[in-house]
């Protein structure tokens, strides 16, 4: 009998302990219901994304029209750690403005120092990308892409429901969501609206004022001799001598966008079969083994700011990148045929590097339109 009483007592104690209220999701947020009416302005102002005439016209996402209020809301969400686990991690922790919205690490490091699978991509000039997002193109729309980092345990590792509760209880965000999307109650703040706002902000991050642009399109500056050599003789491919092996970067990284966003095996890995890639990349998205080892061809704009390089950050410097391409691929059957290897003298390498550095938009790292609003 005492044993039974002891068990009953323990059980009661266990029940009581499990009934302990959960820790507050947001310590600084008021304990309010999450379906309150929202008041305030609700007429979003349409925003036209203006880009210089030498860039293509941006790709319009009709499912997420840009508005002044949506962009501003997205900027706040992008920089606000309220989006990450325990309100302690933001998109901007891996996409730093001063590094052209990369993080300077080989592979992204998320909550609690967890190392991700791939390098954090630059989110500059997304408005010109027609081929899905991420290194492997798994998300068709920019706003769809923004869903995953929040819930990825190697990135922000948060439950979207927890994020939404924090947003709904916030003193500031409900009015901003109403201003951006015209909603009337806090329960109408959804994951879709949050990621659409973030995508609206990201769409506006345009880099188009580099030395290259000022030389070629604006005619206000001149190339140095080195930059000119790098451009005419090495990067672009208009006048390649017959049979010459040539860097030909322009095949995949042509101006003015400097990246066609298609998926290629650029000869990084010497695998014995297409199944042997450590990271199969686009193959996981397309479902075809022939796409294994293929990754996005990103823009080279701001490339001097975005080290280390490749989807896994294996190259620390641009010199290493050039050495890789000069050495050619490995004869893997799905390598891009434009990976040929080529002779590259020190003078040529210096010239090509000088040209690549001319692609940096020096105003981007401090442009207040893209900076933290906090």
């Amino acid at each position: 009998m005492p044993r039974f009483l002891l068990l009953c007592g323990l059980f009661t104690l266990f029940l009581a302990a499990s009934c302990e209220p959960d820790a507050p999701i947001c310590e600084n947020c008021p304990e309010e219901e999450t379906d309150a009416p929202i008041t305030g302005p609700a007429n979003p102002t349409a925003y036209t994304l203006e880009v210089p005439s030498y860039l293509p016209r941006p790709i319009v996402d009709e499912t997420n029209p840009l508005t002044v209020e949506g962009i501003e809301l997205g900027r706040r969400l992008f920089y606000d750690r309220i989006m990450g686990r325990d309100s302690a991690f933001s998109c901007a922790d891996c996409h730093k403005q001063e590094l052209a919205f990369t993080d300077g690490l080989p592979k992204a490091v998320g909550v609690s120092g967890r190392t991700g699978r791939r390098s954090a991509m630059s989110i500059v000039n997304m408005a010109f990308n027609p081929n899905g997002f991420n290194w492997d193109g798994r998300d068709g729309k920019l706003w769809e892409q923004a869903v995953h980092p929040v819930e990825d345990m190697l990135e922000m590792d948060e439950d979207w429901e927890a994020v939404l509760i924090r947003l709904r209880r916030s003193r500031d965000y409900p009015q901003r969501f109403r201003a951006a999307f015209g909603i009337g109650r806090t329960s109408e703040i959804t994951q879709e609206l949050a990621v659409k706002a973030i995508a609206q902000f990201e769409m506006t991050i345009i880099a188009a004022d580099s030395h290259f642009d000022r030389v070629v399109y604006r005619n206000t500056e001149f190339f140095t001799e080195e930059e000119q050599l790098g451009a005419d003789s090495l990067f672009f491919i208009e006048d390649v001598p017959v049979g010459a092996l040539h860097p030909g970067c322009g095949h995949c990284h042509n101006a003015p966008t400097f990246g066609d966003n298609r998926f290629r095996n650029n000869g990084l890995d010497n695998v014995s079969s297409l199944e042997d890639f450590e990271d199969i990349g686009f193959g996981a998205v397309s479902g075809s083994r022939f796409d294994n080892g293929k990754f996005r061809t990103p823009t080279l704009r701001n490339i001097a700011l975005t080290a280390p390089y490749m989807h896994d950050g294996r190259f620390n410097t641009l010199e290493e990148v050039l050495d890789h391409y000069a050495s050619g691929g490995h004869g893997v059957e799905n390598e891009d045929p434009n990976i040929t290897g080529f002779p590259l003298s020190e003078r040529q390498k210096t010239a090509l590097l000088a040209f690549l550095r001319s692609l940096t938009d020096e105003s981007l790292p401090t442009d207040p339109r893209f900076s933290s609003p906090f």
Binding site: S53, Y54, L55, P56, R57, P58, I59, V60, A127, F128, N129, P130, F236, I237, E238, D239, V240, P241, V242, G243, A244, H246, G248, G250, H251, C252, N254, A255, P256, T257, D260, R262, S286, G287, S288, R289, F290, D291, G331, E333, N334, E335, D336, P337, N338, I339, T340
Partner: protein
């Protein structure tokens, strides 16, 4: 009394307004046209198939694409051709793609005697700046060499196994295009479009026929003939002519 004159005039005007001849003459139907890529007469399989080349090498085709400009129907009664499209980019670049791709156009019902298109980018479009177009338009897909050489009209890219050792380690890249190479292809066919028994057209292009014929094969073992880019279009003329000449039209 004078209103008695207005009444028949009004009826006449009303009757003329109801004439449906104009409506019939501009009625349009969906008209699908297919494009099929082949290698040696069999449907092209990007990357997944090993193709025997006449010189003894094996090929894996990585990319085959070409622009089609001014796709037009030729009316039976003469007159202006009916333009179905000013520009199309026909491309195979993934093992997941079928060898046949279909585009659907709008065409007026009527009798026709032929189908015509230009292989490449027509001179007026080839004079355009790609930044005039949205980033996802076919004339802005990184297929622009530069101000002097302009659009790449067609690309054939492959990896070759020249030594038959199972290693496809010789890349081949043929990028072709210039105003001088622009070629018009015409197929004479008599057909009617009425939305009921319209013909099924398939435009067929064979990669092997562009590279080789019964008497002459492009020498892919010669380093000078493994890459054609940009300003080297002089040596591309032979390849281009074979590519442009080999189009055929299947009708069902």
């Amino acid at each position: 009394m004078k209103y008695a004159l207005y009444l028949p005039l009004f009826i006449l005007l009303f009757a003329l307004g109801c004439d449906d001849d104009d409506v019939l003459s501009t009625q349009e139907v969906d008209f699908p046209i297919s494009f099929r890529a082949e290698f040696g007469g069999t449907p092209l399989a990007i990357q997944s198939a090993d193709y025997a080349y006449p010189t003894g090498a094996d090929l894996k085709i990585q990319l085959f694409q070409y622009y089609v400009s001014d796709l037009e129907l030729l009316p039976a009664g003469g007159g202006d051709p009916v333009q179905l499209s000013d520009i199309e980019l026909i491309r195979w670049m993934s093992a997941t793609e079928a060898a046949t791709t279909t585009r659907t156009f709008q065409a007026p019902i009527g009798d026709y005697v032929g189908l015509r298109f230009g292989v490449g980018v027509s001179p007026d479009l080839n004079a355009q700046d790609p930044s005039n177009f949205a980033a996802d338009f076919v004339l802005n897909e990184n297929e622009f060499w530069g101000p002097s050489t302009r659009y790449v009209f067609a690309k054939i890219e492959a990896n070759a196994d020249l030594e038959n050792d199972g290693t496809f380690d010789t890349p081949l890249t043929y990028h072709l295009g210039s105003d001088a190479l622009y070629t018009t292809v015409t197929f004479n066919r008599t057909f009617t479009l009425d939305g009921t028994q319209d013909p099924d057209f398939t435009i067929v292009a064979d990669v092997l026929k562009a590279l080789a014929d019964d008497t002459d094969s492009f020498d892919i073992a010669n380093p000078d003939q493994q890459r054609i880019h940009g300003g080297n279009q002089a040596i591309a003329t032979d390849l281009w002519n074979r590519l442009a000449d080999q189009f055929s039209l299947e009708t069902r």
